[in-house]
């Protein structure tokens, strides 16, 4: 889960990293009050979980409290790359002397974290890395040792950052570890005219797997781009909405991804990703079907199950029970393969639902579901 900038700022502050004075609101009137408290002149920043806010007009300077109210009114409700602005952060302007970049990111292949730092902050780090790779330092962190002062000194030196950043690098590492973050990025980290080191903007991505021990943010920050995704999440389903017309249900993330690809290869577009896991019980099947059938774009549904731990006859029983509780409105193509496939197919044949067809291979079933969707 990504945090909003104002949440990242709050974390940095708690861990002793200097940040600009700032407050958050969803009301233009309150924005005026906040600006007054902050001394009048403020930066108004849209709180959205996407980059490129500045270019989209989501970050503006307001000269006084009245201007802050007007600017907040403009920015609130704005659409930035598909994200609607629900809150703005008002921050005291900072006298920037130099901008740096620092982050800790997960290096999947190394199985650990990597410090990335550059004396050229402010812009997209990918751009700096592409055009001037020598300006970006990448230092692997030993998981057993973490970032000590000595390690932070090494990072700062390699990136050409001033020695005052060492303390910030150590504290940022604490943020990463204590909050179970997968990414902590400060861009820019600035040196002010007064020589202070300040985190001006930050991004923090938390590990969803760590929610059981990091309860602070709850699920407040979980955004569903779409009502179907929200409905599926409420039922505990592993569902992602896509733009196509063939609804997909399968067991196992890899097999479902593969199913989407095979359907796309047959000339149709998948409407969703839905992994119902190994068990494929009647309840999960029914929940999955009802979410998919409520998607108006869906023209056909493809249930692709490999019976491994749960054999196909049990899966077929689940489908049959689900058909009793869900009103099927679109053709359903079922492919059962693996353990007890023949028995599973017989169970579905016995049910003889007029909208249910079976195919014995994944490729054949995908083709049939694709044709049903594109000719419907």
């Amino acid at each position: 889960m990504d945090l909003y900038e104002h949440q990242a700022r709050e974390l940095f502050e708690e861990h002793g990293i200097l940040v600009p004075r700032a407050e958050v609101t969803d009301s233009p009137k309150e924005a005026r009050e906040i600006a007054r408290r902050l001394g009048g002149r403020v930066v108004v920043k849209a709180q959205v979980k996407t980059g490129g806010r500045g270019k989209a007009g989501g970050v503006k300077l307001a000269a006084d409290p009245a201007a802050a109210e007007i600017t907040a009114r403009q920015i609130l409700g704005m659409d930035i790359k598909g994200h609607t602005v629900g809150k703005v952060m008002l921050a005291q302007p900072v006298d920037i002397e130099t901008e740096f970049y620092v982050s800790y990111v997960l290096d999947r292949e190394a199985g650990g974290f990597l410090a990335i730092a550059s004396a050229e902050g402010g812009m997209e780090i990918e751009e700096v890395a592409a055009t001037r790779p020598q300006a970006v330092a990448r230092i692997p962190i030993d998981p057993a040792e973490g970032v000590t002062s000595a390690k932070a000194g090494e990072i700062a030196k390699a990136a050409g950052l001033p020695p005052q950043t060492v303390d910030v690098l150590v504290r940022l590492w604490e943020v990463l570890v204590r909050e179970d973050a997968l990414l902590v990025e400060v861009n820019p980290l600035v040196r002010t005219g007064q020589g202070q080191i300040l985190a001006l903007d930050g991004k923090v991505t938390l590990d969803d797997n760590a929610r059981f021990r990091q309860t602070r943010w709850g699920t407040d920050g979980v955004e569903h781009d779409d009502a179907l995704e929200a409905a599926a999440a409420a039922k505990g389903l592993n569902y992602v909405k896509l733009d196509g017309e063939v609804g997909i249900i399968g067991n196992g993330a890899g097999l479902v991804m593969s199913t989407l690809d095979v359907v796309a290869g047959c000339g149709a577009r998948p409407a969703n990703f839905l992994d119902i896991g190994g068990g494929a019980s009647a309840r999960i099947m029914a929940d999955g079907l009802s979410v998919i059938l409520s998607d108006p774009a869906v023209k056909s549904v493809f249930v692709n199950v490999f019976g491994g731990i749960t054999a196909c006859d049990a899966v077929a029983e689940g489908i049959v029970q689900a058909l009793d509780s869900v009103q099927l409105t679109k053709p359903l193509v079922v492919r059962l393969d693996g353990n007890n496939a023949a028995r599973g197919r017989a169970v579905l044949d016995d049910r003889a639902h007029p909208l249910v067809q079976q195919a014995t291979t994944m490729d054949g079933a995908a083709l049939r579901a694709a044709r049903l969707a594109t000719t419907a």
């Binding site: 999947r108 199985g111 760590a210 059981f212 992602v240 196992g252 991804m257 593969s258 491994g308």
Partner: protein
């Protein structure tokens, strides 16, 4: 021979007395795995009876009694166990793996899904310093058909043979095992779908290259990270056996996690297309569906026979 797991392997199950642990220990025993004990400090000294179906000769119908030990170290002392399969819940997985590594286990197979990444980073790094190989987390384990099954892979969908398989995905592994059941497999390894895993495609490619029982390797990948690209470079430099690949996730949108915690395209990195290109560039045939992948395997084996 096979890789990492043979009929000689003595397997401990950490978390055996839990629901998943019980269910899969029974299935492992049914597949012929030499399960020598479970680990649970609160139930040490007892034993658990498993009513295993008579699918193997000589087992008879008597239940198999598996002793429970208070620690991995006790289990190793009493049985000489060299493999541990970990079913403990996410919050306790790190401690369980560290315990297994400290006790000197050679291989820890971590089935648990949902372990915080910081924990996986910590225990995989620690295991390396202790000489313990980790497979997983968030994986189905590994199977050497006809010999031993450490994890949750269905044993009855394939048979022993000469194909080695390494995969990020469980069900795609099963699909290929089933499609190629007439030829059979030396060992199938599910390395797991998390961003940080203990054993990589490359580790398995190296082991299969050295395994006289493996003639061809099937490599299954999916979006996210660059493990497949790295595997391609490794194949070019070190693997002389034929490799056939499959990649899932061509239709996955950028920035969305597709089921597996590690299955995410970030910007232009981690795409399926890049992975397929990298593999094809080093002569790996990549199927566009699992079935076509199986067909490529048959062709390659036919040409070599």
């Amino acid at each position: 021979m096979a890789i990492h797991l043979t009929k000689e392997s003595k397997v401990l199950v950490q978390g055996m007395t839990g629901g998943e642990g019980m269910k899969h220990t029974r299935r492992m025993l049914a597949a012929g795995t030499n399960v020598v004990g479970g680990v649970n400090p609160r139930k040490a000294g007892r034993s658990v009876d498993f009513d295993v179906p008579q699918c193997l000769k000589g087992l008879g119908s008597t239940p198999i009694a598996v002793p429970v030990f208070g620690s991995v170290a006790d289990g190793i002392r009493a049985t000489g166990a060299d493999v541990s399969v970990v079913f403990v819940p996410p919050a306790f997985a790190k401690a369980a793996v560290v315990e297994a590594a400290d006790a000197g286990i050679g291989l820890a197979v971590v089935i648990t899904e949902g372990i915080p990444v910081h924990d996986s980073v910590a225990f995989t790094a620690y295991a390396k310093t202790r000489g313990t190989r980790i497979i997983g987390p968030n994986c189905p384990g590994l199977i050497t058909p006809g010999q031993s099954n450490a994890g949750i892979i269905p044993a009855d969908i394939t048979k022993p043979g000469r194909i080695g398989l390494v995969s990020k995905s469980g069900t795609l592994t099963y699909q290929l095992m089933y499609e190629l059941r007439d030829i059979g497999f030396s060992t199938c390894v599910g390395i797991g779908g998390d961003p940080v895993v203990g054993t990589t495609h490359i580790d398995c490619l190296a082991a299969f290259q050295d395994d006289p029982d493996t003639e061809l390797v099937v490599l299954i990948g999916e979006i996210g990270g660059d493990a497949e690209e790295r595997a391609a470079a490794y194949i070019r430099d070190h693997v002389t056996k034929p490799v056939v690949g499959y990649i899932a996730g061509f239709t996955a949108p950028e920035g969305k996690t597709m089921g597996h915690a590690g299955a995410i395209v970030s910007g232009s990195s981690g795409t399926a297309a890049a992975k397929r290109e990298a593999l094809e560039a080093v002569g790996v045939g990549v199927g566009s569906t699992p079935t076509e992948t199986a067909r490529l395997v048959l062709e390659r084996l036919g040409a070599g026979a």
